[in-house]
């Protein structure tokens, strides 16, 4: 169809098309900004899609209060540099109940501080369309998700009853209370993301680059001692190691990898010879092999 376009140019154009469709059809769109590399790419694409206008929607960050400090700094700096509205939502009930990954475990923490918090924020502001940075290559159940993914008024995803999606004719119509999650990066792979960051010189959180950082090793995961909320066991001392992160989330749930890749080409090179997939560093996926699908049905992104 577009054989003269390189595949990155084609992916870029497709994502821009999707964003413009949402903008034109939704009443109140929002971009879920998770601060990671995919969000950085999504934001960059939004800058392109509406140029010379600015992206005509706010960014929403659901802050679990356990994100890496460098993520939060990066978030605030980027929003200010680009002159965009940034909404930060925290589940205050969860905070009042003292919910956290160390006290409640990863699945309760994720459910309360992320899934429930996201629903709260969408309801509070009445957003009828929300951009997310998920990619189909990340995980098996995501491979089946639509670009425009319909959610009921209860934010549920029904994998057996998805809207047909043909050509580039997206149906963004919903009834009151219902909403659409939109995934402009659906057809990108992890390698595409890195290549594009390299090609376009897109700023990313420094945690992706290797650096000496204080970590402790637990259950085979290298956990960054990012603040003093990390409970140290007897005799446990954070140790300086040369590490970086392939994926970013809540620091207690995100494992670092030992690496010396401190430039983009080095990161890409490392990725090309990697022997494990990127979600492997996330505690949440290990629960059961169908866990992501279940979480999505409940309203997790």
């Amino acid at each position: 169809m577009t054989r003269h376009l390189t595949h990155l140019k084609r992916l870029e154009a497709e994502s821009i098309h999707i964003m413009r469709e949402v903008m034109a059809e939704a009443e109140k769109p929002v971009m879920l900004y998770s601060i990671g590399k995919d969000s950085s790419v999504m934001l960059h694409l939004a800058m392109k899609a509406f140029y010379p206008s600015r992206p005509p929607f706010p960014l929403l960050h659901v802050d679990t209060t356990w994100k890496f400090r460098e993520m939060i700094e990066f978030r605030d700096r980027r929003a200010a540099e680009l002159g965009l509205d940034l909404i930060v939502h925290i589940n205050q009930e969860g905070v009042a109940d003292g919910v956290g990954p160390f006290t409640h475990g990863s699945s309760v923490h994720t459910d309360v501080m992320k899934t429930q918090a996201l629903k709260q924020a969408l309801d509070k502001y009445g957003f009828d369309a929300a951009f997310g940075g998920a990619r189909r290559d990340e995980e098996k159940s995501r491979a089946k998700e639509r670009v425009f993914s319909f959610r009921s008024a209860q934010h549920r995803w029904d994998p057996k009853n998805q809207r047909p999606e043909l050509w580039q004719l997206y149906n963004g119509r919903v009834r009151r209370g219902e909403s659409i999650r939109v995934f402009p990066l659906s057809n990108w792979t992890e390698l595409d993301i890195w290549q594009y960051i390299h090609q376009e010189d897109i700023p990313i959180v420094p945690l992706y680059y290797a650096k000496k950082r204080p970590v402790v090793e637990r259950d085979g995961m290298l956990i960054l001692a990012d603040d003093d909320r990390l409970p140290l066991e007897d005799g446990e001392v954070p140790e300086e190691r040369l590490v970086r992160f392939r994926t970013l989330g809540c620091y207690p749930l995100t494992g670092a990898i030992e690496s010396s890749a401190d430039t983009l080409p080095a990161i890409i090179e490392e990725m090309l010879v990697a022997r494990t997939s990127e979600r492997q560093g996330r505690a949440i996926d290990h629960d059961s092999s169908a866990s992501m699908e279940k979480k999505k049905q409940e309203g997790y992104f």
Binding site: Y51, W167, Q168, L169
Partner: protein
């Protein structure tokens, strides 16, 4: 050399190389046990896209659920949803990604069994090539024919016939040749002029998938992957006339006004003359604006913002086209339709139609026939059910720009959206304009509705009574008309039973017939309103969609929906015509409230609770409403 001193020279060179890669999107289709998931698993496995942790999970899964004994079951790699894994079938379209040194691939993995044809169409709509799997032991099956038909209908020309499980037929050339011959004979009947490449493979063992098989020396053609890497998907969109549906008017400040969209065909340069459709206004391209700077030209698939040299009125849904070769404009089309939901398509019912970036109300005016996708036989049809393909005419409420699907996939495709649920319920391909749009002109009238109603000192309207049989609609309607008559108002009544003796005596009570019944009554009511009359209509009218259709036929404020809200038990108790008794006895089919649902109005202008008020009081309630809303002048 300097390059060797740079530790990243190799990776930089690799990235530069990668940046030049193109992409092929293809779909795979086959019957349930043809080994489709195994084939895709094999492609991912051979292109080393499976990571160690995934392999670990796969080995564990293979032991638990696999069908390959001690071996890894590659199919488990791609059977994503838990529900599918339990059933051992693929139930939805899944997209997979892999790359070789020559190309990057997106695979739409689509299910084979009958009830999910809609998913195959979904995969086909964005694919440039198709791999159709056939089990060497079974040959060309009904499903193979269906898949090929859908592939050709959706405009795919490049087809690979992958004859799989060759290991199970002893790698016998005669088996392969017979299947190929059989398939070619069938493919010749298809309209699409398919370019078929047959390849014998064993997905399980990898024969002829990415490397040539040592066990089929008689086969001299390319491997599957080798073919996909080199196949030219010959879409000459570049050389076609320029088209861009406008997605969004880009207006950051008073000095800039651009039109953002994705180019659907042709190339465009500053200075090119353009025509905007459907309005027909002409102008010239001033600039092609992008975030990365203005472009000297742009082609198909590129997302750009066009600035024109003239200030003309353009909005979302318009198409900017080459001035010398604009697309067509019409409001009536001959189309192919594929129905995508359980509730059938009813001709006469209104849906939204979205084509390009334009969304307009539409009606399927005529269903000519449906197509048996297994035999290509044409069958008469009154409705279309899930997964059925039909040919018919569609009428849209406003003129839209289009190209026939065979000329331009973007401007020749559309989806249909249900006006209640907002679901995508069907899709279609535009074949040609019926051109009646150009030939049937509205007769301009010098005396209009306003003149006629002024003479009667009233505001014309339709008072639409809806409710179950026996709810009291006709009784109240009669009383209301008597009161209006006494007040010297000019009225007319359309009653459900009465129109069925005349205007609608040729139609019955199926869902499709009920839709048509209300459509005709709606049109007659509109004529009566044009005549200046206060029109009283009394119909069960069980579907919200049709009541909305009548509302939309009229001007704002002319449709007064009166919901005669009587509980089913009471109606059945009253049973003035003895109909409920007959329905319960099975003597009347499709009776509302018994076999067919009644969709109660959510926002009726007036609700009458007959349990609490007498018919006389109800009629008086309506007179009050008409007075206070200004329908009756003093």
């Amino acid at each position: 050399m300097r390059a060797e001193q740079d530790p990243h020279a190799a990776i930089e060179a690799y990235l530069a190389d990668q940046a030049e890669k193109t992409e092929l999107r293809f779909l795979t289709c086959g019957s349930v046990d043809d080994g489709k998931s195994t084939l895709i698993g094999r492609l991912l496995y051979d292109s080393k896209l499976i990571f160690e942790d995934q392999l670990d999970a796969l080995e564990a899964d293979s032991r638990r659920q696999g069908t390959q004994g001690e071996n890894i079951d590659l199919a488990l790699l791609v059977d994503g949803l838990a529900a599918e894994r339990e059933q051992g079938i693929t139930i939805d379209v899944a997209y997979r990604f892999f790359a070789t040194d020559r190309r990057r691939f997106v695979v739409a993995d689509t299910p084979g069994h009958e009830q999910y044809t809609r998913n195959m169409a979904t995969g086909a709509s964005n694919a440039e090539a198709a791999v159709i799997l056939v089990d060497a032991r079974k040959g060309v099956l009904t499903q193979t024919r269906r898949h090929s038909y859908v592939v050709s209908l959706f405009g795919i020309r490049e087809v690979v016939l992958a004859v799989n499980k060759m290991d199970l037929v002893g790698f016998d050339q005669a088996v392969f040749d017979a299947i190929v011959e059989d398939y070619r004979a069938f493919a010749a009947e298809l309209s699409g002029d398919l370019n078929v490449t047959p390849i014998p493979v064993s997905a399980l063992d990898g024969d002829n998938v990415s490397s040539p098989s040592g066990r089929m020396s008689w086969y001299e053609g390319p491997t599957l992957l080798g073919h996909l890497e080199t196949v030219e998907v010959d879409s000459d969109l570049d050389g076609r006339p320029f088209r861009m549906p406008v997605q969004w008017v880009n207006r950051p400040d008073l000095d800039f006004r651009g039109f953002s969209g994705t180019i659907a065909g042709g190339t465009v340069r500053p200075g090119d003359p353009i025509r905007v459709l459907p309005s027909g206004q002409v102008s010239t391209i001033g600039k092609i604006v992008t975030y990365d700077g203005d472009l000297a030209s742009a082609g198909p698939g590129e997302a750009v913002t066009l600035v024109l040299t003239d200030e003309i009125d353009i909005s979302r849904g318009d198409v900017i086209a080459a001035a010398q070769a604009p697309c067509q404009v019409s409001d009536q089309f001959a189309v192919h339709l594929l129905w995508m939901q359980d509730a059938p398509l009813y001709p006469g019912r209104q849906y939204y139609l979205k084509t390009g970036t334009r969304t307009v109300p539409c009606v399927v005016t005529d269903l000519k026939h449906k197509v048996n996708v297994n035999t290509l036989e044409q069958l008469p049809a009154k409705t279309l059910e899930l997964n059925e393909v039909g040919v018919g005419n569609i009428s849209v409420s406003d003129r839209v720009a289009f190209d026939p699907y065979q000329d331009n996939r973007t401007l020749g495709s559309f989806i249909l959206i249900d006006r209640q649920t907002m679901n995508t319920v069907g899709v279609g391909l535009t074949d040609f304009s019926l051109r009646r749009a150009d030939n049937v002109h509205w007769q301009a009238l010098s005396v209009d509705k306003a003149h006629r109603s002024a003479l009667k000192h009233q505001k014309p309207c339709v008072i639409w009574f809806t409710g179950l049989s026996g709810s009291g609609k006709s009784t109240i309607a009669n009383l209301l008309e008597a009161k209006l008559h006494d007040a010297h108002r000019h009225t007319s009544v359309l009653d459900g039973d009465n129109v069925r003796h005349g205007l609608n005596r040729d139609i019955g009570f199926t869902e499709a017939d009920r839709v048509e019944n209300i459509r005709r009554v709606g049109e007659v009511a509109k004529l009566m309103v044009d005549a200046g009359l206060i029109t009283i209509a009394s119909f069960i009218s069980p579907f919200a969609n049709e009541r909305r259709m009548v509302r939309d036929l009229l001007e704002d404020g002319e449709f007064i929906e009166v919901f005669v809200d009587t509980p089913l038990e009471i109606c059945e108790q009253r049973d003035p015509k003895g109909l409920y008794r007959k329905a319960r006895a099975g003597e009347i089919a499709n009776f509302t409230g018994v076999e067919q649902d009644y969709e109660a109005p959510e926002q009726a202008e007036v609700v009458v609770h007959t349990v609490d008020v007498t018919p006389e009081q109800a009629a008086e309630q309506l007179m009050d409403y008409l007075r206070t809303q200004g329908f009756l002048e003093a």
